[in-house]
Protein backbone atom coordinates (compact mmCIF):
# COMPACT_ATOMS: atom_id res chain seq x y z
CA UNK A 1 0.00 0.00 0.00
CA UNK A 2 1.39 3.39 -0.93
CA UNK A 3 1.78 5.83 1.90
CA UNK A 4 -0.75 8.57 1.24
CA UNK A 5 -1.06 11.72 3.29
CA UNK A 6 -4.44 12.33 4.92
CA UNK A 7 -6.40 15.11 3.21
CA UNK A 8 -8.44 17.60 5.19
CA UNK A 9 -12.14 17.29 4.34
CA UNK A 10 -13.67 19.41 7.08
CA UNK A 11 -12.37 21.51 9.96
CA UNK A 12 -11.31 18.60 12.12
CA UNK A 13 -11.49 15.55 9.88
CA UNK A 14 -8.72 14.24 7.62
CA UNK A 15 -9.43 11.47 5.13
CA UNK A 16 -7.39 8.61 3.72
CA UNK A 17 -8.87 7.52 0.38
CA UNK A 18 -9.53 3.81 0.10
CA UNK A 19 -6.83 2.43 -2.15
CA UNK A 20 -5.32 -0.99 -2.75
CA UNK A 21 -6.72 -3.52 -0.28
CA UNK A 22 -8.49 -0.85 1.82
CA UNK A 23 -12.21 -1.61 1.94
CA UNK A 24 -13.26 1.72 3.46
CA UNK A 25 -11.66 5.15 3.89
CA UNK A 26 -9.71 6.22 6.96
CA UNK A 27 -10.88 9.20 9.03
CA UNK A 28 -8.51 10.98 11.39
CA UNK A 29 -9.98 13.47 13.86
CA UNK A 30 -7.36 16.14 14.48
CA UNK A 31 -6.21 19.68 13.76
CA UNK A 32 -3.04 20.54 11.85
CA UNK A 33 -0.94 20.56 14.99
CA UNK A 34 -2.14 17.20 16.33
CA UNK A 35 -1.87 15.69 12.87
CA UNK A 36 1.74 16.88 12.62
CA UNK A 37 2.42 15.26 16.00
CA UNK A 38 1.16 11.87 14.80
CA UNK A 39 3.80 9.52 13.43
CA UNK A 40 3.36 8.59 9.76
CA UNK A 41 3.01 5.00 10.93
CA UNK A 42 -0.27 5.95 12.59
CA UNK A 43 -1.73 6.69 9.13
CA UNK A 44 -0.37 3.38 7.90
CA UNK A 45 -2.04 1.61 10.81
CA UNK A 46 -5.37 3.34 10.08
CA UNK A 47 -5.07 2.25 6.43
CA UNK A 48 -4.25 -1.30 7.56
CA UNK A 49 -7.34 -1.50 9.77
CA UNK A 50 -9.39 -0.41 6.75
CA UNK A 51 -8.36 -3.63 4.95
CA UNK A 52 -9.97 -5.97 7.49
CA UNK A 53 -13.01 -8.02 6.41
CA UNK A 54 -16.46 -6.68 7.28
CA UNK A 55 -15.34 -3.21 8.37
CA UNK A 56 -18.06 -0.59 7.85
CA UNK A 57 -17.99 3.17 7.25
CA UNK A 58 -14.28 3.73 7.91
CA UNK A 59 -11.23 3.09 10.07
CA UNK A 60 -11.11 5.90 12.60
CA UNK A 61 -8.39 7.59 14.65
CA UNK A 62 -9.28 9.79 17.61
CA UNK A 63 -7.38 13.07 18.26
CA UNK A 64 -5.03 11.38 20.78
CA UNK A 65 -4.02 8.65 18.31
CA UNK A 66 -0.50 7.28 18.47
CA UNK A 67 1.34 4.21 17.33
CA UNK A 68 -0.04 0.94 18.69
CA UNK A 69 0.08 -2.74 17.73
CA UNK A 70 -2.00 -3.41 14.64
CA UNK A 71 -4.61 -0.80 15.47
CA UNK A 72 -3.29 2.60 16.54
CA UNK A 73 -4.00 3.60 20.14
CA UNK A 74 -7.01 5.87 19.71
CA UNK A 75 -8.29 3.58 16.94
CA UNK A 76 -11.95 2.75 16.36
CA UNK A 77 -13.32 0.20 13.89
CA UNK A 78 -16.80 -1.33 13.57
CA UNK A 79 -17.42 -4.71 11.95
CA UNK A 80 -20.60 -6.27 10.62
CA UNK A 81 -20.75 -10.00 11.46
CA UNK A 82 -23.14 -10.55 8.55
CA UNK A 83 -20.60 -9.17 6.09
CA UNK A 84 -17.81 -11.48 7.21
CA UNK A 85 -16.82 -9.07 9.97
CA UNK A 86 -13.95 -9.96 12.25
CA UNK A 87 -12.90 -9.46 15.85
CA UNK A 88 -9.25 -8.67 16.52
CA UNK A 89 -7.53 -9.25 19.88
CA UNK A 90 -4.90 -6.71 18.87
CA UNK A 91 -7.72 -4.28 18.06
CA UNK A 92 -8.75 -4.35 21.71
CA UNK A 93 -5.24 -4.31 23.13
CA UNK A 94 -3.32 -5.90 25.96
CA UNK A 95 -5.02 -4.24 28.88
CA UNK A 96 -8.57 -5.34 28.17
CA UNK A 97 -11.18 -2.90 29.55
CA UNK A 98 -8.58 -0.57 30.98
CA UNK A 99 -10.61 2.47 31.90
CA UNK A 100 -11.42 5.36 34.18
CA UNK A 101 -13.87 5.63 37.04
CA UNK A 102 -14.65 8.97 38.68
CA UNK A 103 -16.34 9.48 42.05
CA UNK A 104 -17.91 12.73 43.23
CA UNK A 105 -17.22 13.66 46.88
CA UNK A 106 -19.16 16.89 47.45
CA UNK A 107 -16.19 18.19 49.51
CA UNK A 108 -14.67 21.62 48.77
CA UNK A 109 -11.05 21.66 47.59
CA UNK A 110 -9.93 23.92 50.47
CA UNK A 111 -10.84 21.22 52.99
CA UNK A 112 -8.84 18.67 51.01
CA UNK A 113 -5.93 21.08 50.64
CA UNK A 114 -5.69 21.35 54.42
CA UNK A 115 -5.60 17.56 54.81
CA UNK A 116 -3.78 16.68 51.63
CA UNK A 117 -0.66 15.07 53.11
CA UNK A 118 -2.66 12.88 55.51
CA UNK A 119 -5.10 11.93 52.76
CA UNK A 120 -2.26 11.11 50.34
CA UNK A 121 -0.51 8.92 52.93
CA UNK A 122 -3.68 7.04 53.78
CA UNK A 123 -4.64 6.49 50.12
CA UNK A 124 -1.13 5.25 49.39
CA UNK A 125 -1.42 2.84 52.30
CA UNK A 126 -4.90 1.54 51.41
CA UNK A 127 -4.72 1.31 47.61
CA UNK A 128 -2.45 -1.60 46.62
CA UNK A 129 -0.29 -0.53 43.67
CA UNK A 130 2.97 -1.26 41.86
CA UNK A 131 4.43 -4.30 40.17
CA UNK A 132 3.89 -7.63 41.92
CA UNK A 133 2.12 -6.18 44.97
CA UNK A 134 0.23 -9.40 45.78
CA UNK A 135 -1.90 -7.43 48.18
CA UNK A 136 -5.12 -8.02 46.32
CA UNK A 137 -7.86 -10.56 46.99
CA UNK A 138 -7.24 -14.25 47.10
CA UNK A 139 -10.30 -15.93 45.61
CA UNK A 140 -11.19 -19.56 44.98
CA UNK A 141 -11.58 -20.95 41.50
CA UNK A 142 -15.39 -21.07 41.71
CA UNK A 143 -15.45 -17.54 43.08
CA UNK A 144 -13.22 -16.50 40.16
CA UNK A 145 -15.79 -17.99 37.74
CA UNK A 146 -18.55 -15.92 39.32
CA UNK A 147 -16.39 -12.78 39.24
CA UNK A 148 -15.59 -13.33 35.55
CA UNK A 149 -19.29 -13.85 34.75
CA UNK A 150 -20.67 -10.93 36.77
CA UNK A 151 -17.96 -8.28 37.05
CA UNK A 152 -18.94 -5.24 39.10
CA UNK A 153 -22.13 -6.97 40.19
CA UNK A 154 -20.02 -9.70 41.84
CA UNK A 155 -17.89 -7.11 43.66
CA UNK A 156 -20.97 -5.30 44.98
CA UNK A 157 -22.38 -8.65 46.12
CA UNK A 158 -19.18 -9.14 48.13
CA UNK A 159 -19.72 -5.86 49.91
CA UNK A 160 -17.56 -3.61 47.72
CA UNK A 161 -19.86 -0.69 47.06
CA UNK A 162 -23.59 -0.39 46.46
CA UNK A 163 -26.07 -1.28 43.75
CA UNK A 164 -26.33 2.40 42.79
CA UNK A 165 -22.69 2.13 41.65
CA UNK A 166 -23.78 -0.47 39.10
CA UNK A 167 -26.31 1.86 37.46
CA UNK A 168 -23.44 4.27 36.80
CA UNK A 169 -21.20 1.66 35.21
CA UNK A 170 -21.26 0.79 31.52
CA UNK A 171 -23.57 -2.20 30.89
CA UNK A 172 -24.76 -2.03 34.51
CA UNK A 173 -21.45 -3.37 35.76
CA UNK A 174 -21.63 -6.70 33.90
CA UNK A 175 -20.44 -7.50 30.40
CA UNK A 176 -22.96 -10.06 29.21
CA UNK A 177 -21.91 -13.06 27.17
CA UNK A 178 -18.75 -13.58 29.21
CA UNK A 179 -17.40 -17.11 29.10
CA UNK A 180 -15.21 -17.78 32.16
CA UNK A 181 -14.41 -21.20 30.66
CA UNK A 182 -12.55 -19.48 27.81
CA UNK A 183 -10.12 -17.87 30.29
CA UNK A 184 -7.06 -20.12 30.61
CA UNK A 185 -5.51 -21.36 33.84
CA UNK A 186 -2.48 -19.22 33.10
CA UNK A 187 -4.60 -16.08 32.82
CA UNK A 188 -6.29 -16.95 36.11
CA UNK A 189 -2.93 -17.51 37.73
CA UNK A 190 -1.81 -14.04 36.71
CA UNK A 191 -4.67 -12.64 38.82
CA UNK A 192 -3.51 -14.38 41.99
CA UNK A 193 -3.78 -11.74 44.74
CA UNK A 194 -3.91 -9.03 42.03
CA UNK A 195 -7.67 -8.38 42.10
CA UNK A 196 -8.24 -5.00 43.74
CA UNK A 197 -4.82 -3.58 42.81
CA UNK A 198 -3.94 -0.58 40.69
CA UNK A 199 -0.95 -1.95 38.75
CA UNK A 200 1.88 0.19 37.38
CA UNK A 201 2.82 2.27 34.32
CA UNK A 202 0.25 4.92 33.45
CA UNK A 203 -2.30 3.67 35.99
CA UNK A 204 -3.18 5.97 38.86
CA UNK A 205 -5.57 7.13 41.49
CA UNK A 206 -6.00 10.91 41.62
CA UNK A 207 -7.80 13.31 43.90
CA UNK A 208 -8.79 16.20 41.65
CA UNK A 209 -10.42 19.60 42.04
CA UNK A 210 -13.08 20.75 39.58
CA UNK A 211 -11.39 23.85 38.24
CA UNK A 212 -13.69 24.91 35.46
CA UNK A 213 -17.21 24.13 34.31
CA UNK A 214 -17.99 24.52 30.61
CA UNK A 215 -21.54 23.19 30.47
CA UNK A 216 -23.76 24.04 33.45
CA UNK A 217 -26.63 21.83 32.40
CA UNK A 218 -24.53 18.68 32.00
CA UNK A 219 -22.46 19.50 35.10
CA UNK A 220 -25.63 19.66 37.12
CA UNK A 221 -26.82 16.31 35.79
CA UNK A 222 -23.39 14.82 36.59
CA UNK A 223 -23.39 16.33 40.11
CA UNK A 224 -20.30 18.48 39.45
CA UNK A 225 -19.79 21.78 41.27
CA UNK A 226 -16.86 24.13 40.70
CA UNK A 227 -14.14 23.73 43.38
CA UNK A 228 -15.50 20.42 44.63
CA UNK A 229 -13.21 17.42 44.73
CA UNK A 230 -13.53 14.18 42.76
CA UNK A 231 -11.60 10.89 42.85
CA UNK A 232 -10.51 9.28 39.56
CA UNK A 233 -9.12 5.77 39.16
CA UNK A 234 -7.36 4.60 35.99
CA UNK A 235 -6.60 0.87 35.74
CA UNK A 236 -7.62 -2.31 33.96
CA UNK A 237 -7.98 -6.08 34.06
CA UNK A 238 -4.52 -6.73 35.52
CA UNK A 239 -2.47 -9.79 34.50
CA UNK A 240 -5.58 -11.77 33.61
CA UNK A 241 -6.52 -9.46 30.76
CA UNK A 242 -2.91 -9.24 29.55
CA UNK A 243 -2.69 -13.01 29.37
CA UNK A 244 -6.03 -13.36 27.53
CA UNK A 245 -4.79 -10.81 24.98
CA UNK A 246 -1.39 -12.51 24.59
CA UNK A 247 -2.89 -15.96 24.03
CA UNK A 248 -5.56 -14.85 21.58
CA UNK A 249 -3.29 -12.59 19.53
CA UNK A 250 -1.11 -15.66 18.98
CA UNK A 251 -4.08 -17.92 18.26
CA UNK A 252 -5.52 -15.39 15.80
CA UNK A 253 -2.25 -15.23 13.88
CA UNK A 254 -2.78 -18.91 13.10
CA UNK A 255 -6.53 -18.49 12.57
CA UNK A 256 -6.03 -15.61 10.10
CA UNK A 257 -3.75 -17.71 7.96
CA UNK A 258 -6.19 -20.66 8.13
CA UNK A 259 -9.05 -18.35 7.04
CA UNK A 260 -6.87 -16.87 4.28
CA UNK A 261 -7.19 -13.38 5.70
CA UNK A 262 -4.34 -11.31 4.27
CA UNK A 263 -2.74 -9.39 7.12
CA UNK A 264 -0.62 -6.32 6.42
CA UNK A 265 0.66 -6.64 10.00
CA UNK A 266 0.60 -9.71 12.30
CA UNK A 267 -0.62 -7.63 15.23
CA UNK A 268 -3.87 -7.16 13.26
CA UNK A 269 -4.51 -10.89 13.62
CA UNK A 270 -8.24 -11.51 13.78
CA UNK A 271 -10.93 -14.15 13.42
CA UNK A 272 -14.40 -13.97 11.88
CA UNK A 273 -16.96 -13.06 14.55
CA UNK A 274 -18.91 -16.15 13.47
CA UNK A 275 -16.05 -18.58 14.05
CA UNK A 276 -15.04 -20.72 17.02
CA UNK A 277 -11.93 -18.64 17.69
CA UNK A 278 -13.89 -15.40 17.33
CA UNK A 279 -16.58 -16.55 19.76
CA UNK A 280 -14.02 -17.90 22.23
CA UNK A 281 -12.16 -14.62 22.19
CA UNK A 282 -15.36 -12.60 22.68
CA UNK A 283 -16.27 -14.82 25.65
CA UNK A 284 -12.80 -14.50 27.19
CA UNK A 285 -12.58 -10.76 26.47
CA UNK A 286 -15.96 -10.11 28.11
CA UNK A 287 -14.78 -12.11 31.13
CA UNK A 288 -11.71 -9.86 31.23
CA UNK A 289 -13.99 -6.79 30.99
CA UNK A 290 -15.79 -8.14 34.05
CA UNK A 291 -12.45 -8.57 35.77
CA UNK A 292 -11.62 -4.90 35.11
CA UNK A 293 -15.06 -3.76 36.29
CA UNK A 294 -14.71 -5.81 39.50
CA UNK A 295 -11.21 -4.44 39.97
CA UNK A 296 -12.27 -0.81 39.65
CA UNK A 297 -15.34 -1.45 41.83
CA UNK A 298 -13.13 -2.82 44.64
CA UNK A 299 -10.61 0.01 44.30
CA UNK A 300 -13.41 2.59 44.28
CA UNK A 301 -14.77 1.09 47.47
CA UNK A 302 -11.35 1.25 49.15
CA UNK A 303 -10.89 4.84 47.99
CA UNK A 304 -14.36 5.81 49.19
CA UNK A 305 -13.78 4.28 52.64
CA UNK A 306 -10.42 6.02 52.89
CA UNK A 307 -11.85 9.38 51.87
CA UNK A 308 -14.72 9.04 54.31
CA UNK A 309 -12.25 8.25 57.11
CA UNK A 310 -10.52 11.57 56.57
CA UNK A 311 -13.77 13.44 55.88
CA UNK A 312 -16.45 11.83 58.04
CA UNK A 313 -19.92 12.43 56.70
CA UNK A 314 -18.77 12.91 53.09
CA UNK A 315 -21.02 11.15 50.60
CA UNK A 316 -18.82 9.74 47.87
CA UNK A 317 -20.90 8.60 44.89
CA UNK A 318 -19.95 7.17 41.52
CA UNK A 319 -20.18 9.55 38.55
CA UNK A 320 -19.43 6.92 35.93
CA UNK A 321 -17.08 4.14 34.84
CA UNK A 322 -15.82 3.95 31.25
CA UNK A 323 -13.64 1.35 29.54
CA UNK A 324 -11.26 2.37 26.78
CA UNK A 325 -10.00 -0.98 25.44
CA UNK A 326 -12.96 -3.08 24.33
CA UNK A 327 -14.92 -4.66 21.52
CA UNK A 328 -18.65 -4.36 22.07
CA UNK A 329 -21.74 -5.42 20.18
CA UNK A 330 -23.82 -2.29 19.63
CA UNK A 331 -26.63 -1.12 17.35
CA UNK A 332 -25.61 1.67 15.00
CA UNK A 333 -27.04 3.28 11.90
CA UNK A 334 -24.82 2.77 8.93
CA UNK A 335 -25.63 3.29 5.26
CA UNK A 336 -29.21 4.21 6.18
CA UNK A 337 -29.99 1.05 8.15
CA UNK A 338 -29.59 -0.09 11.72
CA UNK A 339 -27.15 -2.94 12.23
CA UNK A 340 -25.62 -4.84 15.12
CA UNK A 341 -21.91 -4.06 14.86
CA UNK A 342 -18.85 -5.13 16.82
CA UNK A 343 -17.17 -1.86 17.68
CA UNK A 344 -13.47 -2.03 18.57
CA UNK A 345 -12.25 0.86 20.68
CA UNK A 346 -8.56 0.70 21.44
CA UNK A 347 -7.53 3.62 23.57
CA UNK A 348 -10.87 5.22 22.78
CA UNK A 349 -13.83 5.87 25.05
CA UNK A 350 -17.45 5.04 24.33
CA UNK A 351 -19.32 8.34 24.17
CA UNK A 352 -23.04 7.69 23.67
CA UNK A 353 -25.15 10.72 22.87
CA UNK A 354 -28.31 12.02 24.57
CA UNK A 355 -31.29 9.70 24.52
CA UNK A 356 -29.31 6.48 24.16
CA UNK A 357 -31.28 3.69 25.85
CA UNK A 358 -28.14 2.24 27.51
CA UNK A 359 -27.56 5.38 29.57
CA UNK A 360 -28.75 5.64 33.17
CA UNK A 361 -31.91 7.76 33.31
CA UNK A 362 -30.16 10.63 35.19
CA UNK A 363 -27.76 11.13 32.28
CA UNK A 364 -30.07 10.30 29.38
CA UNK A 365 -30.90 13.90 28.55
CA UNK A 366 -27.34 15.21 28.50
CA UNK A 367 -25.40 12.23 27.15
CA UNK A 368 -22.91 9.78 28.60
CA UNK A 369 -20.18 11.04 30.92
CA UNK A 370 -16.88 10.65 29.04
CA UNK A 371 -13.89 10.54 31.38
CA UNK A 372 -10.58 11.72 29.89
CA UNK A 373 -7.47 11.04 31.93
CA UNK A 374 -4.56 13.46 31.74
CA UNK A 375 -0.93 12.71 32.49
CA UNK A 376 0.45 13.27 35.99
CA UNK A 377 0.22 16.91 36.95
CA UNK A 378 -1.89 18.00 33.98
CA UNK A 379 -5.63 18.45 33.69
CA UNK A 380 -8.17 15.71 33.24
CA UNK A 381 -11.55 16.36 31.65
CA UNK A 382 -15.12 15.26 31.93
CA UNK A 383 -16.99 15.42 28.64
CA UNK A 384 -20.43 14.29 27.46
CA UNK A 385 -21.42 12.17 24.48
CA UNK A 386 -23.14 13.91 21.54
CA UNK A 387 -25.70 13.00 18.90
CA UNK A 388 -23.18 13.98 16.20
CA UNK A 389 -20.63 11.56 17.67
CA UNK A 390 -23.07 8.70 17.18
CA UNK A 391 -22.80 9.29 13.40
CA UNK A 392 -19.19 10.43 13.20
CA UNK A 393 -17.48 7.76 15.30
CA UNK A 394 -20.02 5.12 16.41
CA UNK A 395 -20.31 7.14 19.63
CA UNK A 396 -16.59 7.22 20.46
CA UNK A 397 -14.15 9.87 21.66
CA UNK A 398 -10.55 10.24 22.79
CA UNK A 399 -9.31 8.60 26.00
CA UNK A 400 -6.35 10.63 27.21
CA UNK A 401 -3.27 12.51 26.25
CA UNK A 402 -1.15 9.99 24.37
CA UNK A 403 2.64 9.78 24.68
CA UNK A 404 5.02 11.93 22.67
CA UNK A 405 8.25 10.73 24.27
CA UNK A 406 9.54 7.20 24.79
CA UNK A 407 9.99 5.81 28.29
CA UNK A 408 13.70 5.48 27.64
CA UNK A 409 14.07 9.17 26.77
CA UNK A 410 11.85 10.22 29.69
CA UNK A 411 14.01 8.30 32.20
CA UNK A 412 17.11 10.06 30.89
CA UNK A 413 15.52 13.49 30.87
CA UNK A 414 13.40 13.57 34.04
CA UNK A 415 14.83 11.90 37.17
CA UNK A 416 12.08 10.66 39.53
CA UNK A 417 13.11 13.02 42.35
CA UNK A 418 12.92 15.99 39.98
CA UNK A 419 9.42 14.95 38.89
CA UNK A 420 8.24 14.87 42.52
CA UNK A 421 9.78 18.30 43.29
CA UNK A 422 8.27 19.79 40.17
CA UNK A 423 4.81 18.47 41.03
CA UNK A 424 5.12 19.60 44.65
CA UNK A 425 5.78 23.12 43.44
CA UNK A 426 2.43 22.86 41.65
CA UNK A 427 0.82 21.79 44.96
CA UNK A 428 0.39 18.20 43.81
CA UNK A 429 1.16 15.47 46.33
CA UNK A 430 2.62 12.37 44.67
CA UNK A 431 3.04 8.95 46.23
CA UNK A 432 4.72 6.31 44.08
CA UNK A 433 6.21 2.86 44.44
CA UNK A 434 8.93 3.57 41.90
CA UNK A 435 11.18 6.52 41.04
CA UNK A 436 11.85 5.04 37.62
CA UNK A 437 8.12 4.64 37.05
CA UNK A 438 7.68 8.35 37.88
CA UNK A 439 10.37 9.35 35.36
CA UNK A 440 8.69 7.30 32.66
CA UNK A 441 5.38 9.01 33.39
CA UNK A 442 6.75 12.57 33.57
CA UNK A 443 4.02 14.98 32.39
CA UNK A 444 6.28 16.23 29.58
CA UNK A 445 6.32 12.74 28.02
CA UNK A 446 2.68 13.22 27.01
CA UNK A 447 0.75 15.32 24.51
CA UNK A 448 -1.15 18.32 25.78
CA UNK A 449 -4.44 16.75 26.86
CA UNK A 450 -6.24 20.12 26.61
CA UNK A 451 -5.54 20.27 22.89
CA UNK A 452 -6.81 16.73 22.39
CA UNK A 453 -9.98 17.62 24.31
CA UNK A 454 -10.40 20.87 22.41
CA UNK A 455 -10.33 19.03 19.07
CA UNK A 456 -12.71 16.35 20.37
CA UNK A 457 -15.07 19.15 21.41
CA UNK A 458 -14.76 21.20 18.23
CA UNK A 459 -15.24 18.16 16.04
CA UNK A 460 -18.36 17.23 18.10
CA UNK A 461 -17.08 13.78 19.07
CA UNK A 462 -17.97 14.81 22.63
CA UNK A 463 -18.50 18.15 24.39
CA UNK A 464 -16.58 19.62 27.29
CA UNK A 465 -18.28 19.63 30.66
CA UNK A 466 -15.56 20.19 33.26
CA UNK A 467 -11.82 20.46 33.72
CA UNK A 468 -10.12 18.78 36.68
CA UNK A 469 -6.81 19.70 38.29
CA UNK A 470 -4.90 17.04 40.23
CA UNK A 471 -4.22 17.55 43.95
CA UNK A 472 -3.01 14.09 44.96
CA UNK A 473 -1.63 11.40 42.68
CA UNK A 474 -1.03 7.78 43.72
CA UNK A 475 1.08 5.89 41.14
CA UNK A 476 1.98 2.23 40.82
Amino acid sequence: MSMQKPVRTSSYIYRLEPEGPMRVPGFIFADDELLADMEADVFRQVANVATLPGIVHGALAMPDAHLGYGFPIGGVGAFDPHQGGVVSAGGVGFDIACGVRTLVTGIHKDRVLAERKALADLMYQNIPAGLGTRKGLKISSSEMDRMLAQGGRWAVGKGYGTSSDLEKTEEGGTAYGADPGAVSDKARKRLDRELGTLGSGNHYLEIQAIQEIFDDNAAQAFGLRKDDVVISIHCGSRGLGHQVATEFIRLMVQESSRQNIRLPDRDLACAPIFSDTGQQYLGAMRAAINCALANRQILAHLARETFETVFPGARVSLLYDVCHNTCREEDHETGGRKAGLFVHRKGATRAFGPGHPDLPSVYRQVGQPVLIGGSMGTSSYIMAGTSEGMHLSFGSACHGAGRVMSRKQAVKKYPGRQVIDHLQKMNIEVRSHSFKGLSEEAPEAYKDVSRVVEVSHNSSLARKVARLKPMICIKG
Binding site: E39, H66, L67, G68, Y69, G70, I73, G90, G93, F94, D95, G130, L131, G132, T133, R134, K186, K189, R190, D192, G199, S200, G201, G239, H242, Q243, A245, T246, I249, R250, V253, D265, R266, D267, A269, G402, R403, V404, M405, S406, R407, K408, Q409, H433, S434, F435, K436, G437, E440, G476
Partner: protein
Protein backbone atom coordinates in the same frame (compact mmCIF):
# COMPACT_ATOMS: atom_id res chain seq x y z
CA UNK B 1 33.35 -12.72 14.00
CA UNK B 2 32.48 -10.71 17.07
CA UNK B 3 31.88 -13.01 20.04
CA UNK B 4 30.39 -10.56 22.47
CA UNK B 5 26.78 -10.97 23.58
CA UNK B 6 24.78 -8.01 24.87
CA UNK B 7 21.30 -6.52 25.18
CA UNK B 8 19.82 -3.08 24.76
CA UNK B 9 16.53 -1.23 24.89
CA UNK B 10 15.11 0.38 21.77
CA UNK B 11 13.16 3.61 21.66
CA UNK B 12 9.42 3.32 21.13
CA UNK B 13 7.03 6.18 21.81
CA UNK B 14 4.40 4.33 23.86
CA UNK B 15 6.18 1.16 24.92
CA UNK B 16 9.70 -0.19 24.82
CA UNK B 17 11.78 -2.35 22.49
CA UNK B 18 14.14 -5.08 23.67
CA UNK B 19 17.03 -6.49 21.70
CA UNK B 20 19.51 -9.31 22.30
CA UNK B 21 22.67 -9.81 20.27
CA UNK B 22 25.02 -12.81 20.35
CA UNK B 23 27.27 -15.07 18.31
CA UNK B 24 24.62 -17.78 18.44
CA UNK B 25 20.81 -17.76 18.55
CA UNK B 26 20.94 -19.19 22.10
CA UNK B 27 22.95 -16.26 23.44
CA UNK B 28 20.95 -13.63 21.55
CA UNK B 29 17.65 -14.98 22.89
CA UNK B 30 19.08 -15.16 26.44
CA UNK B 31 20.28 -11.55 26.16
CA UNK B 32 16.83 -10.42 24.97
CA UNK B 33 15.35 -12.16 28.02
CA UNK B 34 17.66 -10.09 30.24
CA UNK B 35 16.65 -6.93 28.37
CA UNK B 36 13.03 -7.81 29.17
CA UNK B 37 13.74 -8.13 32.89
CA UNK B 38 15.72 -4.88 32.83
CA UNK B 39 12.57 -3.03 31.70
CA UNK B 40 11.06 -3.91 35.07
CA UNK B 41 14.03 -4.05 37.50
CA UNK B 42 17.70 -3.21 37.80
CA UNK B 43 19.39 -6.57 37.09
CA UNK B 44 22.19 -5.89 39.56
CA UNK B 45 19.70 -5.99 42.43
CA UNK B 46 18.59 -9.54 41.60
CA UNK B 47 20.47 -12.44 43.22
CA UNK B 48 20.70 -15.77 41.43
CA UNK B 49 19.70 -18.12 44.24
CA UNK B 50 16.83 -20.07 42.70
CA UNK B 51 16.09 -21.44 39.28
CA UNK B 52 13.06 -22.05 37.10
CA UNK B 53 12.84 -23.96 33.84
CA UNK B 54 11.15 -23.22 30.55
CA UNK B 55 10.63 -25.85 27.87
CA UNK B 56 8.93 -24.90 24.60
CA UNK B 57 8.44 -26.40 21.14
CA UNK B 58 7.95 -24.65 17.82
CA UNK B 59 9.50 -24.59 14.39
CA UNK B 60 9.07 -20.91 13.61
CA UNK B 61 12.05 -19.20 15.35
CA UNK B 62 10.16 -15.92 15.69
CA UNK B 63 7.15 -17.57 17.31
CA UNK B 64 9.45 -19.56 19.58
CA UNK B 65 11.14 -16.33 20.68
CA UNK B 66 7.72 -14.68 21.13
CA UNK B 67 6.51 -17.61 23.27
CA UNK B 68 9.72 -17.53 25.32
CA UNK B 69 9.27 -13.84 26.17
CA UNK B 70 5.68 -14.47 27.20
CA UNK B 71 6.78 -17.36 29.44
CA UNK B 72 9.24 -15.02 31.16
CA UNK B 73 6.50 -12.40 31.58
CA UNK B 74 4.31 -15.10 33.10
CA UNK B 75 7.08 -16.07 35.57
CA UNK B 76 7.32 -12.48 36.78
CA UNK B 77 3.59 -11.76 36.73
CA UNK B 78 2.11 -15.01 38.07
CA UNK B 79 4.93 -16.37 40.20
CA UNK B 80 6.55 -13.16 41.32
CA UNK B 81 9.92 -14.50 40.20
CA UNK B 82 12.59 -12.06 38.98
CA UNK B 83 15.84 -13.11 37.34
CA UNK B 84 19.25 -11.87 36.31
CA UNK B 85 20.68 -14.97 34.63
CA UNK B 86 19.49 -17.01 31.66
CA UNK B 87 20.87 -20.07 29.94
CA UNK B 88 19.12 -20.92 26.71
CA UNK B 89 19.45 -23.90 24.43
CA UNK B 90 17.58 -24.09 21.14
CA UNK B 91 17.82 -27.29 19.18
CA UNK B 92 15.53 -28.89 16.60
CA UNK B 93 12.59 -26.60 17.34
CA UNK B 94 12.86 -27.06 21.09
CA UNK B 95 13.80 -24.23 23.44
CA UNK B 96 15.01 -25.11 26.93
CA UNK B 97 15.97 -22.42 29.37
CA UNK B 98 17.22 -22.17 32.93
CA UNK B 99 16.15 -18.96 34.60
CA UNK B 100 18.26 -17.85 37.56
CA UNK B 101 16.92 -15.38 40.09
CA UNK B 102 14.83 -15.03 43.22
CA UNK B 103 11.32 -14.18 44.45
CA UNK B 104 10.39 -10.53 43.91
CA UNK B 105 10.96 -8.37 46.97
CA UNK B 106 9.40 -4.95 46.34
CA UNK B 107 11.46 -3.12 48.94
CA UNK B 108 14.76 -4.42 47.62
CA UNK B 109 14.11 -4.72 43.88
CA UNK B 110 12.15 -1.45 43.52
CA UNK B 111 10.39 -2.64 40.36
CA UNK B 112 9.22 0.05 37.94
CA UNK B 113 6.71 -0.65 35.20
CA UNK B 114 5.32 -4.14 34.58
CA UNK B 115 5.40 -5.68 31.12
CA UNK B 116 1.97 -6.85 29.96
CA UNK B 117 2.97 -8.94 26.96
CA UNK B 118 5.22 -9.38 23.93
CA UNK B 119 3.80 -8.13 20.64
CA UNK B 120 4.43 -9.00 17.01
CA UNK B 121 5.49 -5.42 16.46
CA UNK B 122 9.19 -5.33 15.68
CA UNK B 123 9.43 -9.08 16.30
CA UNK B 124 12.56 -10.19 14.55
CA UNK B 125 15.06 -13.05 14.55
CA UNK B 126 17.89 -12.44 12.08
CA UNK B 127 21.60 -12.74 11.42
CA UNK B 128 23.69 -9.78 10.32
CA UNK B 129 26.35 -10.01 7.61
CA UNK B 130 28.97 -11.07 10.18
CA UNK B 131 26.82 -13.97 11.31
CA UNK B 132 25.81 -12.32 14.60
CA UNK B 133 22.28 -13.15 15.76
CA UNK B 134 20.01 -10.22 16.52
CA UNK B 135 16.59 -10.80 18.09
CA UNK B 136 14.18 -8.03 19.00
CA UNK B 137 10.60 -7.32 20.01
CA UNK B 138 8.46 -4.42 21.25
CA UNK B 139 6.83 -5.27 24.56
CA UNK B 140 3.64 -3.69 25.89
CA UNK B 141 4.03 -1.87 29.19
Amino acid sequence: MNNSAYWKHLDHRADIGIQGVGPGLDQAVAQAGLALMAVMCDLELIRRIESRYIDLQGHDPELLFFDFLNELIFLVSAEGFVYSGLEVNIHNGRLQATVLGEPLDNSRHRPAVEVKGASFNGLQVRQDKNGQYIVSCIVDV
